[in-house]
């Protein structure tokens, strides 16, 4: 017999070693994520996937499921925490969605709709993060970075280049590129790199292709992030 745990009261089967997040999504239950990507080991930094397992808060993307566990996910408490985490990600950067090329394709924005983020709630930090337009084909707008390190990981593990890394710490943490000048144009980055397509928000953007798909017809304009994610993981 396969093992199972209870997610919000419903049985979810799992294989040994499978995480709560993977098992839940496979069984058609949505748990949100931002820093998780099926092609990489779990990162565990955004905490959007937070659930309560056997009474303790854990990251669903990084926690292997256990037989008989009772896991709470879609509850007012947990959803409230997810909403606050999203609000934190918004206020620590500079997100002006209406003028963002990624609007409608952005996972942060889509999650904000999903979790009914209606106000910023916290004070804005308004950090000073200049854009990098030095590369001929790709623009970097650091204002929107949520530090998921997907570009870091993709560039290192898929492209074999290590174009990106994080430096600084705490609220001063920020993304840097692999050049003494600090400019993307001085790295070996190419628009065809896996890292060029992986950013869940609007940091790494192709140049010269603005608003090819009109607002209103974009990925999350036609499907919620919940339905899209579940469709992809079934």
């Amino acid at each position: 017999m396969t093992k199972q745990f209870l997610l919000d009261g419903q049985p979810v089967p799992f294989d040994d070693g499978q995480t709560i997040l993977e098992a839940a999504r496979k069984a058609g239950h949505y748990i949100p994520s931002l820093c998780w990507n099926k092609d990489f080991p779990p990162h565990g930094s955004c905490k959007l996937c937070v659930v309560k397992a056997a009474g303790r808060h854990v990251s669903a993307c990084a926690t292997p499921a256990k037989e008989g566990w009772e896991v709470e996910s879609n509850t007012p408490e947990i959803n409230g925490e997810r909403r606050a985490l999203l609000q934190m990600l918004f206020v620590e950067g500079n997100h002006f969605c209406p003028s963002c090329e990624k609007s409608g394709n952005c996972e942060l924005q889509a999650l904000a709709y999903e979790y009914e983020v209606l106000t910023p709630r916290f004070r804005h930090f308004f950090p000073d993060r200049p854009v990098d337009a030095s590369h001929p084909d790709v623009l970097l707008d650091f204002n929107r970075c949520i530090f998921c390190e997907l570009c870091v990981r993709a560039s290192r593990e898929i492209d074999g280049k290590s174009v990106f890394a994080l430096t600084g710490r705490g609220i001063g943490k920020h993304l840097v590129v692999n050049a003494e000048s600090g400019r993307l144009g001085d790295t070996d980055f190419a628009a065809t790199d896996a890292a060029a397509r992986i950013c869940p928000v609007g940091v790494i953007l192709p140049k010269g292709k603005g608003f090819a798909v009109p607002i209103g017809e974009r990925v999350f304009d036609v499907a919620t992030i919940r339905s899209k994610t579940l469709k992809e993981s079934s």
């Binding site: 779990p42 565990g44 930094s45 955004c46 905490k47 959007l48 937070v50 808060h57 990251s59 990084a62 925490e81 606050a84 985490l85 934190m88 990600l89 206020v91 620590e92 916290f122 004070r123 930090f125 949520i146 530090f147 290192r156 290590s162 174009v163 990106f164 890394a165 994080l166 430096t167 600084g168 710490r169 705490g170 609220i171 001063g172 943490k173 840097v176 590129v177 692999n178 050049a179 003494e180």
Partner: protein, 603 residues
Amino acid sequence: MSAHSSDPSQALDAILQRHGRDPTRLLQILIDAQDIEGWLPAPLLTRIAGALVLPRARVEGVAGFYSFLHTRPVGRYRVLFSDNITDRMLGNAELLDALCRKLWIEPGHLSEDGLVSVTTTSCTGLCDQGPAMLVNGRAIGQLSHRRINEIAELIRQQRPLDLWPTEYFQVDDNIRRRDALLGLDMAPGAALQAAVARGRDGWLAEMQASNLRGRGGAGFATAVKWASAKNAPGAPKVVVCNADEGEPGTFKDRVLLNSFADLVFEGMSLAAWAVGASQGFLYLRGEYRYLRPQLEAVLARRRAAGLLGKAILGQAGFDFDIDIHLGAGAYVCGEESALIESLEGKRGTPRIRPPFPVTKGYLGRPTVVNNVETLAKTCLIALGGGEAFAATGTAQSAGTKLLSISGDCASPGIYEYPFGVPISRVLEDCGASDTQAVQVGGASGICLAGYEFQRRIAYEDVPTAGAFMIFDGTRDLFEVARAFVHFFAHESCGFCTPCRVGTALLKGFMDKLADGHGAQADLADIDWLDRLLKNASHCGLGSAAPNPVIDTLQKFRPAYERRLVSLDFEPAFDLDAALAEARQLTGRDDHCAHLKTHEEEEK
């Protein structure tokens, strides 16, 4: 300081050579390379990356993580005032201002001639002899206005640190109460001899019988940790001594390393014997760098005596040696998995656990991480047996505990007590009077009010890694909590959303209250943030960060409420004040040039 007159590129080559161009030694290389010019210019990072065959961005990532590494120029004299609450209570802010005035510089800014920079740093572990500072990494305590005047003069004269009065650099142990550990006079090797005579399994059995629990904070059973590492597959196994001692108000490990280093190293060897480890690290916080030469000397002596190296005490296969790695100003590196990342030359970001270090630690090998005091204590067990050790202290807390006592008392210093000692007894012994509160266990510990002074120091009651900071009736507990919140915001590694943003937001709320803009709604938001930090953080730093606020809000609420303007909501922003510059420019100060505040409108 740039004492090197030789060619910088030759100096770098020598450093790279010394570290075998080993990428896992990146942090150690950066620390040494910084000594060439006092900071790490961009081309230097490029050269280091090239030599280690690492992406440059990764090297920059590491250099930017540690607060003692500088990717921008700092003064040839770099002065860092320790900024623990105990330093603040002893007037460090006034001393910092005085020094800056004397040197004609602004705090946090490099002087135009590049001579000096002055700023603050987290607790440097000299709380018993504060206020304290680090000058180019060397500790100076007992700062007074007189001493500050002299230091300003020495800096102006550009006198090399080696020619400064030696008494400045004297750090006292201040041992006030000795019990089993501090009273022990052991010949180096005696404990190891006893453990080897028992055999590996016999020795582990003694450890099991002792009920020793970790002294670094979490209180995990030491024998269980050792047994897991022993049974875990993978080699060579590793023993790490955690001498990061970053918890504000804690300085007992400093004293153990200064005067009982043999016990600490012997404890590491005892752990290695039990688990079959061959590699050892002492991870020494950057603030204690001045202890390194004497620690290296102890290691050399132990090697010469056959207590480290190959076939220790004649036991074939008992090979073990110890390497000292320096930290560089990052409290989070005391967390064991962040410490291991740092040992591997990376940013000190805590790992996802499981797997735990006992199965996959340093370079994926089984690794035991223990606190300095825990390891020293194992000597007592090897010498006197597990049962005798277990017979002292309380039911769940065997043995003694070193307390680092500071703050408002007559005799700050190190006190060793059997577990179970009541707070009130400690207060009496150290000459504290009119005590309002005690912060036990550092910033991440617990704040006790007067009605709790009958509680006892023990894992089952008031657990502690050793800090014991005393606040008398004149102190403002809101300011205590605010200082700790600033500490956590400064030390957050920034990996996870709740801690990275939450500690910064919490700091903002506390500052808003301190500035007199607080409202009832802010207390509700603070409560909410506290809970989110506790629940959702990736490691113990984030989940402990709200502790000082939670405790003081509960036990000293008037200290907060005093600061509230009696409104439901009050913006952090003062509209009228924002117009001050415009008024000055236009030379107006009539009432039309002012914006009314709510209160005035109500009147």
